[in-house]
């Protein structure tokens, strides 16, 4: 089956991102297709490469990046939510006149239309949030 995932909360602060990762792994193991993982609200903070969690704990962003690499996942950070919260890729940094960017490998920034598209084209959309 074709599934999409919506993540509404930032990493560490709330378990939503962890649950989404475990769910995504389990779905892939069962042979389902993950069409897209969309990051909205503070969920966009999953996509920063600047995080350095303590070494005895998980690194949520790296887990997403690894999953994306292994399974060719489409990790989409909402552009409007990302602008509010300071998640930038190179293009956005240029457009906004910022002196650097912080997006992590495997994530891309795009519009809310990508969420609606996921809702239309997936068999199920599962929301993880607070």
């Amino acid at each position: 089956m074709k599934l999409s995932i919506l993540v509404n909360e930032g990493p560490y602060q709330h378990q939503a991102a962890d649950t989404a990762i475990q769910f995504t792994k389990a779905a892939l193991e069962k042979g389902h297709e993950i069409m897209r993982v969309f990051f909205y609200h503070d969920g966009v903070n999953n996509g920063t490469r600047f995080g350095v969690p303590p070494q005895d704990d998980r690194n949520i962003t790296e887990q997403w990046t690894a999953l994306a690499k292994e399974h060719d996942l489409d990790l989409v950070v909402c552009i409007a939510a990302a602008q509010r919260r300071g998640i930038l890729d190179e293009n956005e940094a240029k457009r906004q006149g910022k002196d650097g960017d912080n997006i992590a490998e495997g994530f891309r920034i795009s519009g809310l239309g990508q969420l609606i598209e996921a809702g239309i084209q997936s068999d199920r959309l599962v929301v993880f949030g607070d």
Binding site: N8, Q15, K25
Partner: protein, 102 residues
């Protein structure tokens, strides 16, 4: 198949389980995850909520979240089934759609 409802909030602190139970039609399923798992434990002052739901709904609880919180060996309300993440995925695909009571 009808809807799968997920609840991830403590029933002691938030009302999202109450709202879910008032809107879940007969035959729909309820999955307790994250801090929502405390609603599945028997012998608490909120256990009655889930007891009243078990007749009309299939009620599931996410085992990994139970264990994480030290609730793995506590007695669950009768009729609740424990699932792992693979079981969570199966519920999502078995039911027509999912509503998260955030």
């Amino acid at each position: 198949m009808a809807m799968l409802h997920t609840v991830n909030k403590s029933p002691f602190e938030r009302r999202s389980l109450d709202s879910c139970l008032r809107h879940a039609v007969k035959g729909s399923a309820i999955l307790l995850i994250e801090d929502g798992i405390y609603a599945a434990i028997d012998g608490t002052v909120v256990a009655e909520k889930i007891k009243s739901a078990v007749g009309d709904h299939k009620v599931y609880v996410l085992g990994p979240d139970l264990k994480a919180r030290g609730m793995g060996d506590h007695k669950l309300v009768d009729g609740i089934e424990t699932v792992d993440y693979a079981g969570f995925v199966d519920l999502v695909t078995e039911y027509d759609k999912v509503q998260s009571w955030l």
